[in-house]
Symmetry: C2
Subunit: 199 residues, 2 copies
DNA sequence: ATTAGTTTTCGACACGCTGTCAAGAAACCA
DNA sequence: TGGTTTCTTGACAGCGTGTCGAAAACTAAT
């Protein structure tokens, strides 16, 4: 059989970069094909559809990001861990020029109820999955912190609250683009959650 | 001059309903024209572009919604006011079948950095404007509550935190569609913010 | 070395969407 | 009634996704 003339992973990387910067609906396969030096038809042949290509590219990102979260939440006091987590989150939103925002949040709001019901659901699942996994990591950090007496409260509720704030930060980032504001909110949230200990 | 054969406001209402359900990029002017019983070209003649039509339709929604927020935040104890505010917010996200989500959050994430730089910026401003106005209303309620001894803390920071949570709720609604979860998070947030009083 | 078979690549096509434009239609005013 | 103005209509260009068949390129077998 004839070997493929392009590298799968390279294309996924290039594609996700475009998706991240311009959104799924905002990037065309022609864009990706041009950037990757590949014919558009070849992409369809190799990946099937734009959504399928996006899903593969997103999975790669999700894995990387989850690893980074795990690292951020892995050392130091609970406050340090949470600070590192928020820092990672905000830095991720603000990466790129101009800042690319949060691909997960964007995807979640961008898709939803368009018209194509089929693959949209797969994408939603992928986004929701990453959110769930990160929530679990935060919850674990809180539980461990509770054992060490750094936090007293319901880890589950607190973790969900923190995740909700990070999603909100992703939205505010798009609305105002004010990184200092985001960091203030993050610090305030940590105070609120940890302060609940010394009620 | 020849009078217009359709009612401006009717079209805006019909258009926003579609935009809300399917997103700006997900609805075509053909859809709106069909629903409104108007020719597509007439819409271009009357409004100029899809984005302009959306902006007009959104302004109408924003005004209505802002009024509802003002009402919700207007009576009772501070806790009651915040509860009513979150209730309004979540009910709004979950209205329609299937639930339509938050048009502001969706718009904020959907637009951003597509390719058309011109009108996207106007839309972003409109979205951000509504968020800012609501933040101010919440902050006012908190300040008033502080005077009455129902809250002690920085009203500005707390208001921003609450708004961030509502934006996060809009995202989680899309991710999980679990209304009970949203209400739990809202209740937890109120406890956290008001609980900070009795530190 | 030649040939058969398989996979990739390429180009043309159908279809939908946005936005433009010119020509037709309808109301109003003089 | 005639002219002007505005709205409506339909055709068009341009770009997007996705499909299809044919050509090209490589492997493997004879």
């Amino acid at each position: 059989m004839r070997p493929r003339e392009f590298n799968h992973d390279d294309v996924l990387r290039i594609a996700f970069d475009q998706f991240w910067r311009k959104g799924v609906r905002g990037t065309s396969l022609s864009d990706i094909a041009r950037d990757a030096g590949v014919q558009r038809g070849s992409l369809y042949n190799a990946f099937g559809s734009k959504e399928a290509l996006f899903l593969l590219a997103y999975e790669r990102y999700a894995g990387d990001y989850l690893g980074a979260v795990q690292t951020a939440l892995g050392t130091g006091t609970l406050r340090k861990r949470l600070t590192a987590f928020f820092d990672l989150t905000i830095t991720n939103f603000r990466s790129g020029t101009p800042p690319r925002g949060c691909p997960t949040t964007r995807g979640l709001m961008e898709l939803g109820s368009a018209q194509g019901e089929g693959l949209d659901e797969d994408a939603r699942r992928a986004f929701a999955d990453l959110v769930t996994r990160i929530t679990t990591l935060v919850e674990d950090a809180l539980s461990a912190g509770a054992k060490r007496g750094e936090f007293s409260g319901a880890s589950g509720a607190a973790a969900l609250h923190i995740i909700t704030v990070t999603r909100g930060l992703a939205v505010l980032e798009r609305a105002f683009g004010d990184e200092a504001q985001l960091r203030k909110i993050a610090a305030h949230t940590i105070d609120l959650v940890l302060g609940a200990t010394k009620r």
